[in-house]
Amino acid sequence: MINTQEILVYITVLLAVAFLVKKYFYKPKKTSKSCGKDNCGCH
């Protein structure tokens, strides 16, 4: 019983860590930063 619980804990924690790593470090491929910044539509 305790073993199953231990395994579940490790899985959950790993999932949480994986999610956080993805959230903070994953870079979306398509970044459009051309607008909403400076001179858009203001040429």
Binding site: T12, A16, T31, S34
Partner: protein, 704 residues
């Protein structure tokens, strides 16, 4: 039989009731997501047309034209120009306001030129009589080469006629109603020669703005041909854009002359009456201040009842799970990590819902634009914009929706400063921390016989948060060398009675988005922190039970007390306990010991975790988490030499630390996403925490 899915893009100027039309067409059958890589809201809804045909309707962000001046607006262009995109529409619906038809038609003529079949919806037909407006629909349909649906989203009149037009979308013209290339024939001829297969208007749009899309990018165009964009300077291009606008308005004016009549003598004017009061140089501010008080009252007073209920519900749920499931580490994780973490998110729902309720009502009614107008000059002194008011107010509930609310600030510098300073405002996660510390170190007595010292301290901390935001904005404005043309143009919409359905859907969707986006992060961090607090290296941790038992063998302890002692010992030797001990030398000068250090670290999940962590460290977990007990334990906590840990000096130092420090990982994630770089969240993290450290240090050394 398969169901045919028609893709429809809903486009329109802000304040035309576009969202009401969307809500009527789709009901609650909507999904709110984000466009890839950016946080612009993407709203999709479904609408059944016939048994075999459904419409997938995309509600695009409101835009005044196809020349984007904000992130929200650029989404519209990207979507409409990318023919191979998943969301490229079969039909476009342009929603316009009957009172502002002239301006709204500008966007319509642009969309038409993209050669997408376009339906024109003229909304707010219920106001025509009051404004003395009459329209000749067949004439306008002929002149604009489109089909028109005259609707009132308020009375639901005409919504069905949109559906009828959609069913018959194949008969809707996709021809342009005027030709942009006529504004400079030679230039457009050369363009055409260089790119014979492209639509001239689309090329023109690409040239005049830096939108990346599909395969027609600026760079390959440059490489492949001898055509050089340098033939027109930015200034010349803008002159052409003005020429284009003049041509469009000329067409629109000619059209409206034929089919649109306004009899001003019949018009009644609510706007000028309300504006006289609401934008008055004295009453305007008094009323705004009153509205602010009402919002704070709602966030802090009215929401306390549901919040207490949520708090106790999650506590009972945790107890129930603990007693029902077999004991073990996973059950502990479920109760102390996951359920407690979820509770920590759900508890904010009442406050956030109230906040969105107010903001939604103020925006729908048209009042928010007046606030922007009133506050712009004052805010600009500090490098902010009138539009920064909404984020700063929202920040008192939670910085995450507040930072998302900065998106409509056009000037990048003003927007960036707003994002950077918003976390200083006292968000509701700080409240439980303030509450317990104030109760602990500030005497419950009256000053001058009227004011309660504890209440005054709380108010002072709120004002301090605003002051910190404003002052740091002032400094950032001087320090940041970002060249940014501020082109502040704010539409002052007509006053309208907010529609219940719109407000409800808005509050529901925004709250749901917060719950899911921020919730996932907070939950994941709670799980990781639980792990770090429940596991530790070495014998000290694994043998905790025996060590404690042998230590207290001579004392008469109840099982509960013994369990508490073991839990506390384990925490001390867990990974996070080691972190706490490691940072102790750094935080010692502020008046904190390693236990407070642990609480500071766990606060990164969400600040209010401070209270729960201290409860565990001072081993009151099993004896009940009532504030009274934690408070008593904290008050009794002493250093080995007998000195009290929580004194006025260390208490104030902690309060100030929490007021200034950047301790919210979820906010940092949002800032990273919104600014598209690690630089700014890191500046926030280290900058704010450094300020917090210095202020706390000074106050402790001064008071001790």
């Amino acid at each position: 039989m398969s169901v045919e899915m028609l893709k429809v893009a809903l486009i329109g100027n802000p304040n035309t009731g576009k969202t009401s039309v969307f809500n009527h067409l789709t009901g609650l059958n909507q999904q709110v997501g984000n466009y890839p890589g950016i946080t612009v809201e993407k709203k999709i809804g479904y609408c059944k047309l016939t048994r075999h045909r459904k419409a997938k309707i995309i509600d695009l962000p409101g835009t005044y034209s196809l020349n984007a001046s904000s992130l929200d607006e650029s989404v519209v262009i990207e979507l409409l120009m990318n023919k191979n995109g998943d969301d490229f529409p079969d039909v476009a619906i342009v929603v316009s306001d009957v009172e502002n038809l002239k301006r709204n038609l500008l966007l319509f003529t642009q969309i038409k030129e993209l050669e997408i079949p376009t339906i024109l919806v003229i909304n707010m037909s219920d106001r025509m009589k009051r404004k003395g407006i009459s329209i000749d629909i067949p004439v306008l349909e002929k002149e604009l080469n489109t089909k028109i649906a005259l609707v009132s989203s308020r009375t639901k009149n005409g919504i069905d006629s949109i559906k009828t037009l959609l069913q018959d979308y194949k008969n809707i013209s996709s021809e342009a109603c005027l030709d942009t290339s006529l504004i400079d024939v030679t230039y457009f001829d050369r363009l055409k020669k260089a790119f014979p297969n492209q639509s001239l208007y689309k090329l023109w749009l690409v040239i005049t703005q830096d939108v990346n899309f599909g395969k027609i990018d600026k760079k390959p165009m440059k490489d492949e041909t001898s055509f050089s964009f340098a033939t027109k300077s930015n200034s010349e291009l803008k002159r052409l854009q003005q020429k284009e606008t003049i041509a469009r308005y000329k067409f629109i004016n000619d059209t409206l002359k034929k089919g649109y009549v306004v009899d001003k003598s019949k018009a009644t004017d609510l706007r000028s009456v309300l504006d006289k009061v609401l934008t008055h140089k004295v009453f305007g501010y008094v009323i705004f201040f009153g509205v602010l008080l009402l919002i704070f009252q709602a966030i802090f007073d009215w929401s306390s009842v549901p919040m207490d209920f949520i708090d106790s519900s999650f506590a009972s749920l945790g107890d129930w799970v603990r007693h029902t499931l077999p004991g073990g580490v996973f059950t502990d994780l479920l109760v102390d990590g996951i359920i407690a973490g979820l509770g920590g998110i759900v508890i904010f729902i009442p406050q956030i819902a109230f906040l969105f309720l107010f903001i939604s009502v103020l925006e729908e009614s048209g009042y928010m634009s007046r606030v922007v107008f009133l506050m712009d000059r004052i805010m600009r002194r500090f490098g902010l914009s009138g539009k920064s008011v909404v984020p700063l107010i929202s920040g008192t509930a939670c910085a995450i929706p507040a930072i998302m609310a900065t998106r409509n600030i056009e000037s990048w510098k003003e927007r960036l400063i707003t994002i950077l300073v918003t976390p200083f405002t006292t968000c509701s996660a700080r409240l439980p921390v303030y509450a317990i510390l104030i109760a602990l170190v500030i005497p419950d007595q009256r000053i001058l016989g009227v004011f309660n010292a504890q209440g005054l301290t709380l108010m002072f901390l709120y004002l301090l948060g605003f002051a910190a935001a404003i002052i740091s904005a002032y400094i950032l404005n001087k320090v940041l060398k970002i060249k940014s043309k501020s082109y502040f143009v704010v539409e002052m919409p007509n006053y309208k009675l907010p529609m219940f359905k719109n407000v409800f859907i808005n509050v529901f969707e925004k709250t749901k988005a917060f719950l899911i986006d921020a919730g996932k992060i907070i939950l994941a961090i709670s799980i990781v922190l639980w792990f770090l607090a429940s596991y530790g290296p070495g014998k000290e941790f694994s043998d905790a039970e025996n060590i404690v038992k042998s230590e207290v063998v001579n004392q008469e302890l109840s099982t509960l007390e013994l369990d508490d002692k073991i839990a506390s010992y384990k925490l001390e030797h867990s990974y996070i306990g080691i972190v706490g001990k490691t940072i102790e030398p750094v935080i010692k000068p502020l008046g904190y010991d390693w236990k407070i250090g642990i609480a500071l670290v766990t606060s990164f999940a969400a600040r209010e975790v401070f209270v729960g962590t201290l409860a565990t460290i001072y081993s009151v977990g099993s004896a009940g988490e009532e504030e009274g007990t934690i408070k008593q334990k904290m008050a009794a906590e002493v250093y080995p030499n007998g000195e009290k840990i929580f004194t006025l000096a260390s208490g104030i130092s902690l309060l100030l630390f929490y007021a200034f420090a950047m301790q919210c990982m979820a906010t940092l994630a949002i800032v990273k996403k919104e600014t598209n770089s690690w630089k700014w969240p890191m500046i926030q993290l280290f900058g704010m925490t450094a300020i917090a450290y210095v202020v706390a240090l000074i106050s402790f050394q001064f008071l001790k």
